[in-house]
Symmetry: C2
Amino acid sequence: MQIAIAVFDQFTALDAVGPYQVLAELPQTEVVTVATRPGPVRDDRSLTFQAAAAFDEVTEPDVIVVPGGLITRRMVRDHHPVIDWIAAVHPTATWTTSVCTGAVLLAAAGVLTGRSATTHWIAYDQLTELGATPTDQRVVVDGDVVTAAGVSAGIDMALTLADRIGGATTAQAIQLGIEYDPQPPFDAGAPRKAGEAVRVPVAQWLRRREADLLA
Amino acid sequence: MQIAIAVFDQFTALDAVGPYQVLAELPQTEVVTVATRPGPVRDDRSLTFQAAAAFDEVTEPDVIVVPGGLITRRMVRDHHPVIDWIAAVHPTATWTTSVCTGAVLLAAAGVLTGRSATTHWIAYDQLTELGATPTDQRVVVDGDVVTAAGVSAGIDMALTLADRIGGATTAQAIQLGIEYDPQPPFDAGAPRKAGEAVRVPVAQWLRRREADLLA
């Protein structure tokens, strides 16, 4: 089984690495990072990854993982090559998945038209604009498309997918292997849980960063 | 504030990227990946990162993050250069932290002698052998040293640290930003929670992989 993880300049690293760490443990799996061209790809902070392959070299992956980042609105505006790649490989893929605003890229590729999906809470409106129906669930399975909420939700998404692909025992073995028994010190990880004093500045700050990236 | 994340061949990617995604959001923070030499570093599956600096170029980081991997037992045996680096930078660091079996490297550097600490559940015995007192807590703060349990626990560790460094509002803002409202599909993320049918084969498999790396 080939799992292709798309990467692009300014992506959010954990969006990709969370699912990667789960899905790479599935039996007989090859994971390939794929980008406009092989070589260095910088995330939205200070990590540099090496993409292993170009989009046109990975034409029939079994599973597609598309991470997000505040750059995705700009990528839709500028029609980034990942969008055509998603449209090309989705029809033959067994599972097409996204984390965070990776869903915006799936939507731009036409994959989410008429489907339920989720994304980072800051970007529900973008999904609506692109013809999808956003929900605030953490993981949404709609047919062969699985979308996850913001950044860290990719781990939950990938465990859900591991269950579908390898069964519950395999998914639980992977969960135990990565000791995923989450105990965050606060209960502020969703907009409805975080107080206004936290939520409002975070939303303003994310929108400011997105506007800077669009400029 | 400089945050140095150590990387080395065969490290576990999520050990590093989980804390990175949290700590990089702290105000006025520079994150640097540091390795034996700058350039490509391969994880224990199929990701390649670019380390930004060599160990001897990062001499006074404020925060140290040491990931783990099944390779750490071998690294202790072979006295990997990261061990001397940890010993050198820990005395002037504000916080010295580890994820998963990164704790074994801290212990080998003498940082955990007489301290309580945690690590991946497969490696408690290694901590004992190296003079630390292992616990099965997910995050252990002992003075200026913070250790996390296996792989995914680095996210919880980093939020705990973000609270200590930046205060609760900042930590909660970061948690909301990465939408960390975990909802794993199973409750199998700790040895006491996973059934024997899951736990025993996972332990056998991890020990076999570790033995292969030692050979």
